[in-house]
C-alpha cells in the first residue's frame, strides 16, 4: 500500500522534472530568425533611479533607430533580481540579454546558462579597450561570458566643514585616518560611518597578507585577516569613533553622511548623485582610500551584460549587447556619471578622470580588487557578514567569530 503511493508520487514527479529539464535545454538556434525579419529581444535588469532609467531608454532608442529590424523589450525586475532571473532561466523563459553582477558570475557561468561570447566578437568591438580586471571578472577557462557595462570603486568621502572645524587634514594613511576619526567624533557626530560587511571590508581583510578565499573555500579565519580587520573594530569598540548606519538610524553610509552623522564614509560612485539630489547643502570632497602599510587598495564593483545560452535570437542579442557595451552605447549610458564607463576610451572622452569628485574613484580602477572570488562567494559572504556584525558590535571576539563563520561556510560549500 505504502509502496504503491510512493511509486505514484515518483511517477508524477518524474514527469514534472522531465518537463523542467527539457525546458532548460530547449535546443538553441533552431528557430533563429532569418535576416531582415523583425525580431524582438528582451533585456532584463534591475531598476535604477529615474535618471538612470531615462539614460537606458535613450540608449535603447538609439539602438533601435540604428537597427530597425530589432525591437528591444525592457524587463525591469524590481526586487530579488537573481532569484527571479534564476527561476526564469530554469523555466526556459529567461531574457535574451541581462545584467549580471561580477559577484554572481562564476556560479552562473558554471551552470552553463550563460553564452560564451568569443565567437561573436569582431575587431571593431575593440576588446582591449575594457579595463582588464573588470573584463577578467567575466572570464572562465579562457572564454569571455560577458562585457562590463560599468563599474564603481570605493573612495573616502569627507565632510569639508567638519574637517576644517576640527583642523584635520584629509587622511592619506590608515594611521592618519584613525587619528582623524577620533578627532572628528563629537557629540552626535561619529568620525567614521562604517559598513561592516565583506563587500566593503574585503580590501582591509587582505591588507595584511591574509586571504579571504582560497581554492573556492573560505580561509578568512587566519591571523593575517584578523590583523587586517581588527583596527576597524577598535575604532568602534575602543576609540568609539566609528558607527554603522543602523546605530544612528540610517540605512546606509551615504545617508548618514548626508545627515551629517558621520564626518567620513567609504562609499562609491553611487553616493555622488544621491548626495546631490538629497543633501545638496553638504559640502564634501572625495579622496583615495587610506593606504595600509604604504599600499593602495580599493574594491571595484562590476556589472556586465551577458547573453542567455538558451536564447533563440542570439544574433540580434549580440547586436544589442555589443551596442550597449560598445563605445557609443556606453558613452550615452555613463554620460551623467551615475556609473563609471568600463572602457578606457569612453572614460577619457567623458573626462571623469579630471572630475573633482570622481577622479579618486577613477584612479582606484588601476589597483582595485574586483568584488568577485569564485562560485561559492554568496555562501562565504552570507556567513562572514552574519558573524562579523556581532564582532563589530563588540558582542564577541573577532577571531572566534571568523572561525565560526569559516567553519560553517565551508560546510555549506561541501
Amino acid at each position: 500500500m505504502m509502496n504503491k503511493k510512493w511509486f505514484a508520487g515518483l511517477g508524477i514527479s518524474a514527469m514534472l522534472l522531465g518537463s523542467a529539464l527539457t525546458g532548460c535545454s530547449s535546443d538553441n538556434g533552431g528557430s533563429e530568425p532569418k535576416d531582415g525579419e523583425k525580431v524582438e529581444v528582451t533585456l532584463a535588469g534591475w531598476g535604477g533611479n529615474p535618471t538612470e532609467e531615462k539614460l537606458l531608454k535613450e540608449t535603447l532608442a538609439d539602438f533601435e533607430q540604428k537597427h530597425p529590424n530589432i525591437d528591444v523589450k525592457l524587463e525591469v525586475i524590481t526586487e530579488q533580481y537573481m532569484d527571479v532571473i534564476k527561476t526564469r532561466l530554469i523555466g526556459g523563459e529567461g531574457p535574451d540579454v541581462f545584467y549580471l553582477d561580477a559577484f554572481e558570475a562564476p556560479g552562473l557561468i558554471k551552470t552553463g546558462a550563460v553564452e560564451p561570447l568569443d565567437e561573436y566578437v569582431t575587431k571593431d568591438f575593440d576588446v582591449d579597450d575594457f579595463e582588464k580586471p573588470l573584463l577578467d571578472a567575466f572570464k572562465e577557462d579562457g572564454k569571455t561570458y560577458g562585457f562590463p557595462k560599468d563599474y564603481s570603486t570605493l573612495a573616502l568621502f569627507y565632510n569639508k566643514k567638519m574637517l576644517s572645524d576640527a583642523g584635520v587634514e584629509v587622511p592619506k594613511t590608515w594611521e592618519e585616518f584613525t587619528a582623524a576619526s577620533k578627532k572628528l567624533t563629537k557629540g552626535k557626530v561619529a568620525g567614521f560611518g562604517a559598513a561592516p560587511e565583506l563587500a566593503r571590508v574585503y580590501w582591509m581583510a587582505e591588507s595584511k597578507g591574509g586571504k579571504v578565499v582560497t581554492d573556492d573555500k573560505a580561509s578568512f579565519a587566519s591571523k593575517e585577516v584578523e590583523a587586517g580587520l581588527q583596527p576597524l573594530l577598535d575604532m568602534h569598540n575602543v576609540d568609539k569613533s566609528a558607527v554603522e548606519p543602523k546605530e544612528v538610524g540610517a540605512s546606509w553610509g551615504g545617508e548618514m553622511f548626508g545627515q551629517q552623522k558621520a564626518a567620513m564614509v567609504i562609499e562609491g560612485n553611487w553616493a555622488i548623485p544621491y548626495l546631490k539630489d538629497t543633501f545638496p547643502d553638504v559640502e564634501y570632497g572625495t579622496a583615495e582610500l587610506p593606504t595600509v602599510d604604504g599600499k593602495n587598495s580599493t574594491m571595484a564593483y562590476d556589472v556586465a551584460y551577458v547573453m542567455n545560452a538558451a536564447s533563440e535570437k542570439k544574433k540580434a542579442s549580440w547586436e544589442l549587447l555589443s551596442y550597449l557595451t560598445g563605445k557609443e552605447g556606453m558613452k550615452t549610458w555613463t554620460s551623467k556619471g551615475y556609473a563609471l564607463p568600463a572602457r578606457q576610451s569612453v572614460a577619457e572622452e567623458l573626462g571623469f578622470d579630471k572630475d573633482e569628485l570622481r577622479a579618486p574613484l577613477v584612479a582606484g580602477a588601476s589597483y582595485a580588487t574586483v568584488w568577485q572570488k569564485g562560485p561559492n562567494m554568496p555562501i562565504i559572504v552570507n556567513n562572514f557578514n552574519n558573524q562579523f556584525m556581532s564582532a563589530f558590535l563588540g558582542k564577541r571576539p573577532l577571531g572566534e567569530a571568523l572561525k565560526d563563520a569559516e567553519k560553517q561556510a565551508n560546510k555549506e560549500i561541501e
Binding site: 524590481t78 526586487e79 526564469r88 523555466g91 545627515q259
Partner: protein, 276 residues
C-alpha cells in the same frame, strides 16, 4: 453597591480598550503623518505627528512620475476581484460537500486539505512556475488567478459554517423539488452571506498583497500589479521614507474600502468551530 462596582469595571474596560486602540493607531498615524512630510523634516529627526510643512508632493510624485500607475491599479483590481469571486464560489462548494455530502475519499481529502496548510509556499514556487510555464500562462491574468482560486483555510472555514447550518431548510427545498445544485445556489449560498463576507475580505487582502507570485511570473511592466509597481518605487528611493510611506498608504487604502463595505456582515460570518 452593585452599581458602583460595575462603574469601576467599566472604567477598567474602557481603559483597556482605549489603551489598545492607541497602540494600534499610532503606527498608522505615524506612517500617514510621515507621508505628508518633506524629506528634510524626516531627516531632521524631530518627532512630531503634525507635519511642519504639510506637503502633497510625495503623493504627486507617485501618481505623476509613473505613467503606468493606473494600469497597475487596474491589473491588481482585475486579479483581486476575480480571485475573490472564484474563491467564494469554489471554497463554498467544497466546504458544502465536505460538510453535507457523503462520498468516498471525503475524509482523506479533508486531511489533505489540512496538511496542505503546513507546507510553506516558498518551496513550491519553482515547480509552480514550471507548471504555469508549460500551460503558457506566464505574464497573464489567468496565471495569477487560477492557482489561487481556492484556499485551504477557507474551505476549512466554510465546512465549519455549513456543519452548523440548519438542515431543515435544505430538506424543505428538496421537498419542493429543487435539485441539490439548485438548493445550494438558491437557498444555501444566499444565507451564507456573513461567512462569504468574512471570506471576501481575507481573500481579497491576500490577493491584493501577494508579492512573490507576480514578481516571478509577470515580466511585462504593463502586467505588473500594484505591489510590484510600488516596489520599483521603493528600489529607486531607498531611504526616502516620505515616498515609501506615501506609497504604502496608497496601497493600503483599497483594502480598507473593501473592509468598510463588508464590515457589517463580518463578525457573524467567522465561524470556525462547532464541528459536532
Amino acid at each position: 453597591m452593585k452599581k458602583k462596582k460595575i462603574g469601576a469595571g467599566k472604567v477598567l474596560l474602557y481603559g483597556i480598550l482605549i489603551a489598545y486602540a492607541i497602540t494600534t493607531l499610532v503606527p498608522f498615524l505615524w506612517a500617514i503623518s510621515s507621508s505628508f512630510k518633506t524629506l528634510q523634516e524626516i531627516v531632521s529627526g524631530t518627532i512630531s505627528f503634525i507635519p511642519k510643512n504639510f506637503t502633497l508632493d510625495n503623493y504627486k510624485q507617485i501618481f505623476l512620475q509613473q505613467e503606468l500607475f493606473p494600469r497597475w491599479m487596474f491589473n491588481s483590481v482585475v486579479i483581486a476581484v476575480s480571485v475573490t469571486f472564484l474563491n467564494l464560489l469554489f471554497n463554498s462548494m467544497a466546504g458544502y460537500a465536505l460538510a453535507r455530502l457523503a462520498f468516498p475519499g471525503k475524509k482523506a481529502l479533508f486531511i489533505i486539505i489540512l496538511a496542505v496548510l503546513m507546507i510553506p509556499a516558498q518551496v513550491t514556487m519553482i515547480p509552480n512556475y514550471l507548471i504555469l510555464k508549460s500551460l503558457g500562462w506566464l505574464n497573464s491574468y489567468q496565471g495569477m488567478i487560477v492557482p489561487s482560486m481556492i484556499n485551504a483555510t477557507f474551505i476549512f472555514m466554510m465546512r465549519q459554517f455549513f456543519i452548523n447550518f440548519p438542515k431543515e431548510l435544505e430538506e424543505a427545498a428538496e421537498i419542493d423539488g429543487l435539485s441539490r445544485v439548485g438548493t445550494f445556489f438558491r437557498i444555501v449560498l444566499p444565507l451564507a452571506k456573513p461567512a462569504l463576507a468574512a471570506q471576501a475580505i481575507f481573500v481579497f487582502m491576500g490577493s491584493w498583497n501577494d508579492f512573490m507570485r507576480p514578481l516571478i511570473i509577470m515580466t511585462d511592466a504593463e502586467m505588473f500589479t500594484l505591489p510590484l509597481g510600488l516596489n520599483t518605487f521603493k528600489g529607486q528611493y531607498i531611504s526616502y521614507w516620505n515616498y515609501i510611506m506615501a506609497a504604502s498608504m496608497v496601497f493600503t487604502l483599497p483594502v480598507l474600502v473593501i473592509y468598510a463595505f463588508f464590515n457589517r456582515y463580518f463578525i457573524k460570518g467567522v465561524s470556525f468551530t462547532g464541528g459536532k
